[in-house]
């Protein structure tokens, strides 16, 4: 009873709270990192060094008026942010945060669920999130959001192909679709897949930027072109849902990258005796560290690069990333057969 229901529930609550808090603080981190790049201070007023800024933001979003445009499709308009947020959160169900530990006499796996199709589960769940974006833009009954949502969905679908192709190479190396199995395979191989598959890693990173609508692929919410993108008409909590979903998706992409390419909870250099001390750090700490490293690159890129244009983005996706990813699959297959 305890192991079957209570423990998973506790873990779900822990993960959800952790994700939501991380989202709040990623926003702060983003503003801070961007500020430091731009030789500014960033938020400084709420709490020491703006540390309480996220709370103030959340409070503001809570008390803001929640406006529904008169001509909007009310049901869809309300449902769209939820459709975006829920898949972003349930994707965490299969992500292994650490290795299995024994705690108070019960074994405690470091994941909520180890599904045998875990990787595909994440991809398919991400596909559902697209609906929220399309519907949000459509239901606002306004031209800029509609344009932006069409852009967004075309972009997400295009880059999903390339990203999925990179996942195929990882599956070929690990021989399993389970996220835990993939980490174990990296342990068995002695190499993180990021080093064995640098091309796939690079494509995954670029595709991940595009799938989370981050700069330089943030066309769907290009303020300068399309006002605020598909959530132009949203305000208050419903806007906050979109916001949360975007950052939660960033975390999903980072955690997946960590699991697939950076060895998940594994400590680096387990085979170098001089660095065996690194193994003492708990697995979840490594996991979080790697995830944040990845997230930091996201923020860094945003502060540095201009934005792609729509046709250039499509060209990059279809003419470069997808063929390259397919070629990578073929080469990996050949190497697997020959070597």
């Amino acid at each position: 009873m305890v192991e079957a229901i209570i423990l998973p529930l506790v873990k779900i609550v822990i993960v959800l709270v952790a994700v939501l808090v991380t989202v709040m603080y990623i926003v702060l981190l983003e503003r801070k990192v961007q500020a430091w790049v731009q030789v500014r201070l960033g938020p400084m007023r709420v709490g020491p060094h703006g540390i309480l800024q996220p709370l103030a933001d959340v409070l503001k979003l809570f008390v803001k008026e929640d406006i529904t445009p008169v001509k909007a499709d009310k049901w869809v308009f309300t449902a769209a942010p939820i459709i975006v947020l829920v898949p972003a959160l349930i994707a965490f169900a299969v992500i292994p945060f650490g290795k299995t530990v024994t705690l108070f006499g019960t074994t405690m796996p470091g994941y909520i669920a180890d599904v045998n199709v875990g990787l595909l589960y994440i991809v398919s769940v991400a596909g559902i999130g697209i609906y929220g974006i399309i519907l949000g833009g459509w239901s606002s009954n306004s031209k800029y959001p509609l344009l932006a949502s069409l852009r967004a969905s075309a972009q997400l679908i295009s880059y999903e192909i390339a990203v999925t192709m990179t996942l195929v190479t990882v599956i070929m190396l690990s021989g399993t679709l389970s996220m835990v199995g993939i980490v174990d395979a990296q342990l068995a191989k002695g190499w993180w897949f990021g080093f064995m598959q640098p091309v796939a890693f690079a494509i995954y990173f670029i595709g991940g930027l595009a799938e989370t609508n981050r700069a330089p692929f943030d066309l769907p919410e290009a303020e300068q072109e399309l006002v605020a993108g598909f959530h132009t008409e949203y305000s208050g909590m419903r806007f906050a849902f979109y916001f949360l979903a975007e950052y939660a998706n960033m975390i999903v992409v980072s955690t997946v990258a960590t699991t697939l390419f950076l060895g998940g909870w594994l400590a680096p250099f387990p085979n170098v005796p001089a660095l065996s001390l690194l193994g003492l750090v708990p697995g979840w700490a490594w996991f979080i560290l790697k995830t944040f490293l990845f997230l930091y690159v996201f923020l860094w890129v945003r502060a540095t690069l201009p934005r792609y244009r729509y046709d250039q983005l499509m060209r990059l996706g279809w003419k470069w990333l997808i063929p390259l990813a397919i070629l990578n699959v073929v080469v990996t297959g050949l190497l697997k057969v020959l070597v």
């Binding site: 049901w75 869809v76 199709v117 991400a126 596909g127 559902i128 697209i130 969905s153 999903e160």
Partner: protein, 167 residues
């Protein structure tokens, strides 16, 4: 017990959303209900030990095909409701009657003509059957699999030719 609860609730959802798909006034709502329907079907697959199919159902159906529908619904920016005009010779009732006939026929087949078929090959169904499915697809059913991919290619080219404005 758990199985029954899962089946009946999922069946109710599947049929309920199915009715909504067919009856919804707005096309976009109809598409939304279709997605919900497909998600419920995927859940049903999970209860039937077909996790891979469930994920594929969500990925391809919900995440791919229905998005296409949604795209077309948005591109087709109708100035008047799509069902405004009705052919005077249309016999809607007859359609319902025929649908009922199909239902009766199907149930009759299941109830009367059903015998356990002899199926060979496949070799059992393990709970973790992704690998098994992969082997079947790439070994026993390789030719159909390749034909299916050719079908997809043809469909892709066909769709581009049809939808392109000027060739």
């Amino acid at each position: 017990m758990v199985e029954a609860v899962a089946f009946y609730s999922l069946a109710a959802l599947i049929l309920g959303f199915g009715v909504l798909v067919v009856t919804a006034k707005s096309t976009v709502h109809s598409v939304l209900f279709l997605v919900a329907d497909f998600l419920c079907v995927a859940a049903l697959y999970v209860t039937l030990q077909a996790q891979f199919l469930a994920v594929i159902q969500v990925m391809v159906y919900a995440g791919g095909i229905v998005v296409l529908y949604l795209f077309v619904v948005m591109l087709v920016n109708l100035k008047r409701p799509p069902e405004a005009h009705s052919d005077p010779r249309r016999m809607g009732r007859l359609g319902l009657v025929m649908a009922a006939a199909v239902m009766v026929e199907l149930v009759a087949i299941f109830a009367l003509g059903w015998s356990k078929p002899e199926v060979t090959g496949g070799g059992g169904l393990s709970p973790n059957n992704v690998e098994q499915l992969g082997r079947l697809l790439y070994q026993d059913y390789l030719i159909p699999f390749e034909v299916a991919s050719v079908l997809l290619l043809v469909a892709m080219i066909g769709a581009i030719v049809l939808a392109k404005r000027e060739l």
